[in-house]
Amino acid sequence: MVTLEHYLILSAILFATGTVGVFLRRNVITMLLSIEVMLNAVNLAFIAFGRTIGSADGQVIMFFVVTVAAAEAAVGLALVIALFRHRETLNPDMFTSLKW
């Protein structure tokens, strides 16, 4: 029997994987991809909970999360392109000119 716990554990594992990516990788595009992984983990949790309580709210909220993720990916990638034009690198450690 597949229970709610199965899906929640899977969601937690995916979320932790995404977090590792955001903190450890030194490539802006991969960091954005890791953020998408985290958002997906959250979506999975929402849908699983929605199914458990028998309401369609989980899917509606997932719909909004996907839309926000799309908007954020678009703006984030535009920023990446603008940054790349400046310094020719995708390593976030190279953008340190605002440090004291």
């Binding site: 229970t3 977090t19 595009i29 991809l33 998408e36 509606v60 926000v68």
Partner: protein, 177 residues
């Protein structure tokens, strides 16, 4: 219900493996493609959760549009070469990785503990059981009604958000205004 469990482990395994390879992979092009595989596995999981609409939305928007955007950017910036895991050269690469992996395991354990402590009225049998009405949540009509009545404000705000994001992306990526 052996098939349900088998399907869950199959798609869950694919999703976890693909996500791990996305995060640890060296080539951003391969990372993008593996993330698409992960999205497909998650869409399959949504179908086992009686939410076909959510699965299709996932494929259309995430795998079909957002990932194409990522792919274009990777191709445009020619970012398919390898990169270092952590800046500082090969010597400092291993230790932050191990520490990060350890902390990730700790985070996962914490999340699992927090999520499993939820107080539920039903007993948690999720798929194939007599519990919630599968038709009630799988029907797109119900979804549409919820979206336009209870969540109408969020819906309108989301449309403004999309316009703002569109304008912002165009302005940010232009060479000169």
């Amino acid at each position: 219900m052996g098939t349900e469990l088998l399907l869950f482990y199959l798609f869950g395994g694919v999703a976890v493996t693909a996500s791990l390879l996305v995060v640890l992979g060296r080539n951003p092009m391969h990372s993008v493609l593996l993330l698409i595989v992960s999205f497909a596995a998650l869409a399959a999981l949504y179908i086992t959760l009686d939410s076909p609409f959510a699965a299709v939305i996932q494929i259309i928007i995430y795998a079909g549009a957002i990932m194409v955007l990522f792919l274009f950017v990777v191709m445009l910036l020619n970012a398919h070469k390898e990169d270092e895991y952590v800046s500082g050269g090969a010597q400092t690469m291993k230790k932050p990785l191990y520490a990060g992996a350890l902390l990730a395991v700790v985070l996962a354990a914490e999340l699992v503990w927090a999520l499993l402590r939820t107080d539920r009225a039903t007993d948690g049998l999720l798929t194939g059981g007599a519990a919630p009405d599968a038709v009630a949540i799988g029907d797109v009509r119900v979804l549409g009604q919820l979206l336009f009545t209870d969540y109408a404000f969020a819906f309108e705000v989301t449309s403004i958000l999309i316009i703002v994001a569109m304008v912002g992306a165009v302005v940010l990526a232009k060479r000169e205004l």
